[in-house]
């Protein structure tokens, strides 16, 4: 691994020899740096098809993560409406975001089956912590999120008593204090 200080615009390799990683971009057949920092070459994984080494630039500033389509996020439900639930994105992957990103889970994105029969109020409640996947950048206001997978959905919710509930089925959670069950789109956690 070689280290070298570079600034934006510096040529850091040829596209025929390397792949551009973070902090680098390709123009024609040349790879340029787009950040100030150290240039690093990461050798490719032996099993990957593309055997070119990755050249990247690591800057000194750590940026907050930004949700992008396909990434799994943890979000808090802020408002439940008839056709959608508004959420605030808290984490992207395993990293906490530095500022709030708004997201919405639309009715048709709650679960994979019987998508037209979803009742939003039977799936989420304000304050729930949800694991969801980013579908798209959405409209000008919010990211579009989906919970239409087994491992996606409510991971943590509080009951009317204010106690954290225990999941008991795909659609129900129970309060350990009162024993009352509430309807949720429950995520499969663990395993």
């Amino acid at each position: 691994m070689t280290t070298e200080l570079v600034t934006p615009g510096d040529v850091i390799g040829k596209a025929t020899e390397f792949k551009a990683g973070k902090g680098a971009y390709v123009n024609d057949t040349t790879i340029y740096a787009s950040l100030t920092g150290t240039r690093r070459i990461v050798s490719p994984l032996p099993e990957s098809l593309d055997q070119r080494a990755v050249v990247e630039v690591t800057g000194h500033k750590a940026h907050g993560p930004i949700p992008e389509p396909g990434s799994v996020v943890i979000a808090r439900v802020t408002k439940v409406m008839a056709r959608m639930a508004a959420v605030d994105i808290l984490c992207v992957g395993s990293k906490a975001v530095r500022e709030n990103f708004a997201g919405v889970i639309r009715q048709q994105d709650v679960r994979a089956t019987e998508i037209d029969k979803v009742d939003m109020h039977q799936s989420f409640r304000a304050g729930d912590i949800v694991r969801a996947m980013v579908l798209s950048l959405g409209d000008a206001r919010a990211y579009y999120l989906s919970t239409a997978k087994n491992e996606l959905g409510v991971v943590s919710a509080e009951s009317a008593e204010g106690e954290t509930m225990v999941p008991i089925s795909w659609t129900e959670m129970q309060c350990p204090l009162s024993g009352q069950t509430e309807q949720r789109k429950v995520a499969k956690v663990g395993n």
Binding site: L5, T7, P8, G9, D10, V11, G23, Y25, N27, Y32, S34, L35, T36, G37, T38, G59, H60, K61, H63, I66, E99, N100, F101, A102, L137, A140, R141, Y143
Partner: protein, 241 residues
């Protein structure tokens, strides 16, 4: 008036192709994500960059899949000899636009959809060439903020007085009524992004003045690179210690 004496020296003692002294420093505003001070002789500009952050005013979003770049240029009341009249005059509106579009071209905005980048520029001392100094300061601040850029956008001005092309005009030379060419380039890609000129100039003369300004840009780019590398070394040293 004589702006170049027979020995070929200018009013402040520089040669025709000599730049003023450049002092640059990054990380001067603690709250900002990136910041820089850029001095060229007596011209001094401070730049602060915030972002990429969530878009605050949604109506400003034009392209859905690109970051929005916003820029505000202002001149301090005390920056010139006579007090500035208003804060947002037509000149600063235009300069904000020009600087914004220059920086937009060099930032890889497609990497940061749904976000905005704010650039604030404040002229502390004005002695000619403020728009060049602003672009240089903005570049430094953006690099400090770690915002991915195609290249370092740098800018330099050149003029034409007493039938001599002059690099990096100061205020006296600028207001002498001669031509003033401000060039902004992406030095490594060798592309011209910004080009502003006023006053009359024949074609051939323009080409020499333009070439001189471009050379000036490349020299500034070198200096900016040095500053950035020095800063990175400092940071690494501190981290190790």
């Amino acid at each position: 008036m004589e702006y170049v004496n027979p020995e070929g020296l200018r009013l402040d003692g520089r040669r025709f192709n000599e730049m003023r002294q450049i002092v640059a420093e990054v990380g001067v505003v603690s709250k900002a994500d990136g910041s820089a001070v850029f001095e060229m002789g007596n011209t001094k500009v401070i730049a602060a960059v915030y972002g990429p952050r969530e878009i605050q005013n949604k109506s400003q979003q034009k392209k859905n899949d690109h970051a929005v770049v916003l820029c505000e240029y202002s001149m301090a009341q005390f920056s010139t000899g006579d007090r500035r009249r208003q804060k947002f005059d037509r000149r600063s509106t235009e300069l904000s636009l020009v600087i914004r579009q220059t920086m937009e071209a060099c930032i890889l905005t497609e990497l940061m959809p749904h976000s905005q980048i704010d650039i604030f520029l404040q002229v502390l001392q004005a002695d000619g060439g403020t728009r060049s100094a602003c672009i240089n300061a903005a570049t430094l601040a953006l690099a400090d903020a770690g915002i991915p850029m195609r290249d370092l956008a740098v800018s330099c001005s050149a003029g034409y007085l007493n039938s001599t092309p002059l690099l990096d005009l100061n205020y006296v030379e600028d207001s002498a009524g001669g031509a003033d060419v401000t060039v902004g380039i992406l030095p490594k890609l060798d592309k011209v992004t910004l080009l502003q000129m006023d006053a009359k100039l024949p074609m051939e003369t323009f080409e020499t003045v333009f070439a001189l300004a471009s050379e000036g840009c490349k020299a500034i780019a070198e200096r900016i690179r040095e500053v950035l590398q020095e800063n990175t070394k400092q940071l690494e040293y501190r981290r190790a210690a």
